[in-house]
Every structure is written in C-alpha cells, then in structure tokens.
C-alpha cells in the first residue's frame, strides 16, 4: 500500500511551489496516505488494449456519437469548435495591467530570478 511520508510531502510541495511547515507536512502525509490507498484500486482494473481518454475537443471526434470508434467523448453532430485563427483586438495594456500587483513602465514587475 502506498503511503506518503512527510519528506515526500515536502518534495511534492516543492514541485508545486507550495511551502509547507512541519505541521502541515505531517497532516497532509496522514491525510493523503488513505486517499492514495483508495486510488490504488485503479491498478487492478484490466485496461489491456484500452487507449487513454482523449480530451473532448480533440478532433477528429468519433463518427458514431458520444463514444464512437475512437471512444472520445464528443456529442454526435457537433464540430470541434475550433475557429479560424484570426487576430482579435487585444485588451488595452492599461486594463490588462490594472490588476497586476506590481507594475513598472507598463510591464509586470517580478522579483529577481537570475543570479548576478
């Protein structure tokens, strides 16, 4: 059975750019272990020869309805919804930047991310 250690919680958090304190890491390790154990049931399902589900919009859709020969979930008689690649007027810069926490000379200002 899968369990997740505190250390693993810290590693996952680091990948996801979360920083957990020790108390949180302990709590999430305790909570995630039974959830993972529950999810492990999937590994017993026979999926030999079954392809992964496709996102509903990915053309071409199956020809015969919701689950056609490709098995993609996409209603019959519908097209993919992809439109022509035509440029539309963008948001004016000042409106696009209005909700940005820090702006400098019309740009999003971010903290330093390169070593000198």
């Amino acid at each position: 059975m899968s369990t997740i250690s505190r250390q693993e919680c810290h590693e996952l958090a680091s990948l996801a750019r979360l920083s957990l304190n020790e108390e949180e890491a302990e709590r999430f390790a305790a909570e995630l272990s039974p959830i993972l154990a529950y999810l492990e049931q999937l590994q017993a399902v026979d999926t030999m020869g079954v392809e992964e589900h496709l996102p509903p919009s990915r053309p071409p859709l199956g020809p015969s309805g919701p689950v056609g020969s490709t098995g993609a979930v996409g209603p019959a008689g519908s097209s993919s919804g992809l439109r022509d690649d035509v440029t539309a007027p963008p948001l004016p810069r000042e409106r696009a930047l209005a909700g940005v926490p820090e702006v400098l000379d019309g740009h999003v200002k971010v903290p330093k991310f390169k070593k000198d």
Partner: protein, 512 residues
C-alpha cells in the same frame, strides 16, 4: 404585487411581468434584496452583493421598456452567479484569498449572455474554494448554511447558489459542476440543478478547476426556469474551443413533451451500497413510480466500471487542478506576498493564498502526474475513464435516461465530515459519472426526509442523466416528474432558523 408574492414567482413569470409592464425590474429587485437582507445574516450565501450594479441594471431595463425597446427572455430576473464566474469590473475570487482584490478586466460569456437577455446580476455567490468541496466548508470566508436548517451544510461546491435560490434571495443562479457541484447542493437545498453536457455551455470566463470535467449550468426553483436559463447560456463560443458547435433546441418546448415512452435505466447494483440512507432510497423509488405513472418504463442497466468512478475522478481532477492552479503565482493578478526571490514569492503567495483542501488536491495532483507515478495513476485513470464512458454508451443503447439518487444522504451537519476528506470524496458516488462521460444530468426535488430526533426534515433530490446533447429528453422527463408532484413548491422556513439553536446529534447526519 407584494414583495413576498414577487419572490414566489418563477423566473419566467418575472420576465413576462416585466416585459408586459405589470412589474418594474426595480420593484422585483427590491423584493429579492429585502429577502436577502433577511436571510444573509444566517445563510451567508453571497460573497458579494452587487447592489449598485444591480440597481443600475434594473433601472436600465425599466428605461428600455419605457422607451419601447424589446426586452430579453430574462428581463428583470435577479440572478446570482457563483463566484468563479468572471464579471467585468466585479470583484471575482473563486472563493479564494489568492484572488483577493482581483477585478476582471474582461467579460465572461455567461455574464455577457445573461445580461444580454435582460437579467439583473445580484452578486457573487459563495462556494468551496476553487469549487473543491461538497459542503461549502472549504472556505476562508463564512461557510454557507442550508436554508432548511442552518446547522446543516448546503452542499457544494455551488452551495451559495443553491442556498440563495432556495431562500429566495435571487430568482435563479449559476453554478459549476465538475463532479456534482451543481446537482448535489441543489439536492441538499431542495431546488433544481442542471449540469449540461460537456461543451454545451461555454467555459470562457469560468475560473478553471478541472477543465475536462467543468461545466456551467443553472440552479433554479423549477425545471422550466432551468430550461429558460440554459436556452440563454447554451451554444457555441469562439472563445472556448471545447464548446460544441451544435444547434440549440427549444428547451422550454421540450419540457412539455412528457415522459410517455421514455425508457429509464436504473443501475440497481449501485443502490445496494450500504451508505445509501433509507430515506433517500424511499424518495428515489417514489420518483421512479411517478415517472412510470407518466408513461415511462424502467429497465435495469449495467455499469461495470462504476465502482471505479470516484478513484478515476480524484486522480484526474487533482491532476488538472494542480496544472490549472499553477497560474496563481502572485505575479499577474490577485494577492502577492513579496519576497526577495521569484521562487520565494511564488511559495509565500501560494502558502498564504490557498487553504488546506486546495493544497491537498494540488499535492495529490502533483503526485499522480509525477514521472514515476504517471502511468500507474494518471495514465491508468484516463484508460478507466474511457471504460466508464463506454459503459454509459452501452447502457444508453437500451434506455433514454438513467435515474439515480444525487447524494447518498439527505444532508449532513456542519463540521460532521470536514475532518475526513476521503469520506467527503465518497459522497460524490452518484454524480461523478456524468462528468467523466460528458453527459447531461439534472437534480430535481423529490421530497423531504422524515424528521427524526437526530435529524430535521431535509430535502432529497433525484438525478436523471441523458446522453450528451440530449438535454431535451432530460428536461422532458424532469418536467413530467415535476408536473406530477409538489416537491418543487416546498419552501424552507421563513425567516430562517437560527444557526446557533441546539446542535444536532453529530452522528445523525447519515451513513458515510
């Protein structure tokens, strides 16, 4: 007309009165606002009440009528939107501190279409943070309470939407449904909740949780109001490539088609689970009898992979959430906790901005997507999802609809389950399949549970599911059930009971 009579009107009747001039939009708005003033101190359904914007919109409708302009299908109807719907210029947070202060610079498709039809937007309705939850307890704000008994949760994640409609603090509302988040709160609050087929309604301007599962839909007091809202919302949108380009039928007309000749599938095996409350089972069987009386026939269906739906769902939705929520980096919108480096800024912002359930799902999603667990978890879940979708396709070869309960229990008390995420996840058992397979589904009121010493009388919903884009069949059966019953006319206590009355027996909220 008195304010109390106005808030009893259907959304369709309000629009008709406003179009005909027998009610002013401002008068309608005042009636619903008075109701919200009375119920909000107990229910907390609204995260934001947009009084000024609503007043301006209602006055514009009245002005348009006075000037002889034609009015839309939802003229003057007060509608609340779940907080994850973007409304240009209106504070939108998806129930999260990480978006605190964000004012959308663009209009979402849902708000645009509702406003275009003459609706008056009353505000932003409370929700579980980023739509992750089944009780509205996953929130940094005040949790929403159930109008039938404020000691009980309203369900989630669209709990504010369902509670507001049930309490009459808006005439209808918009929710979103990723694994049951429209249908389950509709069931727990005794209103109608419609999850359209995946792609039927645009997702542009709906803050994403799990993009392959999320769908917007109406919560309303009766089936025809839900149909009227779907009529306005449905249809292709150049701003959402997953929104299908299929004709939009006349949904209101399909509500009058009746249930005669419809074959209703029942997955008996799922009903045998020990977690099913006897009151829910009883209400479900009664609803089946009502459909049979209306001319439907029952058939048994098999869904061999249904038992794996919850596991499949929680792998996929957490993976998609971990990916979607990567955008909350503290740089471009919302809150920023500034630190010396970029990485520390990300971590400090996300640490402060997300609450526990969101972090839990991001961690789980990160785990299932990680290189060494991808094949066993994410890849395998995508395969099982295909098997589940195939099961439904095969079942629908022998029936037009599939009926089931919505929630295994009538409701549960605030705090009863919040300590146990897995138990909370397991309560989504009946609703998740429709999202995994992209189906249309609806929760309709099916009566109240019997009050016992440990639990008050609480609403119970029944679910109908139809193949993708078969909303007309879904609505025909739902309306036929409603026309033969009075469950949708039941109203919660007015004024609402106090939330601080004697606490219910904590073990009495149902089996788990």
């Amino acid at each position: 007309m008195t304010p109390n009579r106005i808030i009893e009107l259907s959304a369709r009747a309000i629009a008709r009165h406003v179009r005909e001039g027998s009610l002013r939009a401002t008068e309608v708005l005042e009636a619903f606002e008075a109701r919200a003033d009375a119920t909000e101190p107990v229910l907390h359904a609204y995260l934001l009440r947009a009084r000024d914007e609503a007043r301006t919109a209602a006055e514009a409708i009245d002005g348009a009528r006075a000037a002889g302009h034609p009015l839309g299908a939802l003229a003057g109807v007060p509608i609340g939107l779940k907080d994850l719907f973007v409304i240009e210029g209106m504070h939108t947070r998806a129930g999260s501190r990480i978006l605190e202060g964000w004012i959308p610079p663009y209009q979402g498709t849902h708000a645009a279409r509702l406003l275009g039809a003459g609706a008056v937007i009353t505000g932003k309705l409370a929700m579980d943070e980023f739509a992750m939850g089944s009780s509205n307890e996953n929130t940094p704000y005040e949790p929403v309470r159930n109008p039938w008994d404020p000691r009980y949760v309203p369900g989630g994640s669209s709990g504010g939407s369902a509670a507001a409609v049930a309490a009459g603090s808006c005439a209808a509302a918009l929710g979103s449904d990723t694994g049951g988040s429209i249908r389950q709160p509709a069931s727990l609050c005794g209103v109608v909740g419609l999850k359209p087929s995946y792609g039927r309604v645009s997702r542009h301007g709906m803050i994403a949780f799990a993009s392959s599962l999320d769908q917007a839909g109406p919560i309303a007091r009766d089936v025809r109001d839900a149909a009227a809202l779907l009529q306005v919302l449905a249809g292709p949108d150049p701003l959402d490539a997953t929104c299908v380009d299929a004709p939009v039928p006349d949904y209101l007309a399909s509500c009058d088609r009746g249930a005669a000749g419809l074959r209703v599938g029942v997955h008996r095996e799922a009903l045998a689970s020990e977690g099913l409350d006897p009151e829910v089972a009883k209400a479900f069987e009664h609803a089946l009898a009502v459909l049979q009386d209306a001319g439907a026939t029952l058939v048994d269906v098999e869904l061999p992979h249904a038992e794996h739906a919850i596991a499949t769902y929680y792998v996929l939705c957490t993976a998609e959430a971990a990916s979607n929520l990567a955008r909350y980096d503290g740089l471009r919108y919302g809150a920023r906790i500034a630190r010396a480096s970029l990485r520390e800024t990300y971590e400090a912002t996300r640490e402060a901005g997300f609450s526990a359930e969101v972090k839990r799902r991001i961690l789980l999603g990160t785990f299932v997507l990680r290189k060494d667990s991808y094949a066993a978890y994410y890849g395998q879940a995508q395969k099982v999802r295909r098997l589940i979708a195939r099961d439904y396709a095969r079942a629908f070869e022998g029936c037009d609809l599939i009926a089931s309960p919505v929630s295994p229990v009538p409701g549960f008390a605030v705090g009863e389950r919040s300590h146990d995420p897995l138990t909370m996840y397991l309560s989504d058992v009946f609703t998740i399949g429709a999202n995994l397979a992209g189906l249309a589904a609806i929760s309709i009121p099916a009566g109240l549970s019997a009050a016992t010493s440990g639990r008050p009388a609480l609403p119970i919903g029944v679910q109908l599911m139809a193949p993708a884009l078969q909303e007309p069949t879904l609505l025909a059966a739902a309306a036929a059930h409603e026309d033969a019953t009075d469950h949708h006319r039941l109203r919660p206590p007015d004024p609402p009971r106090s939330a601080t009355a004697s606490e219910p027996d904590p073990g009495a909220g149902g089996a788990s």
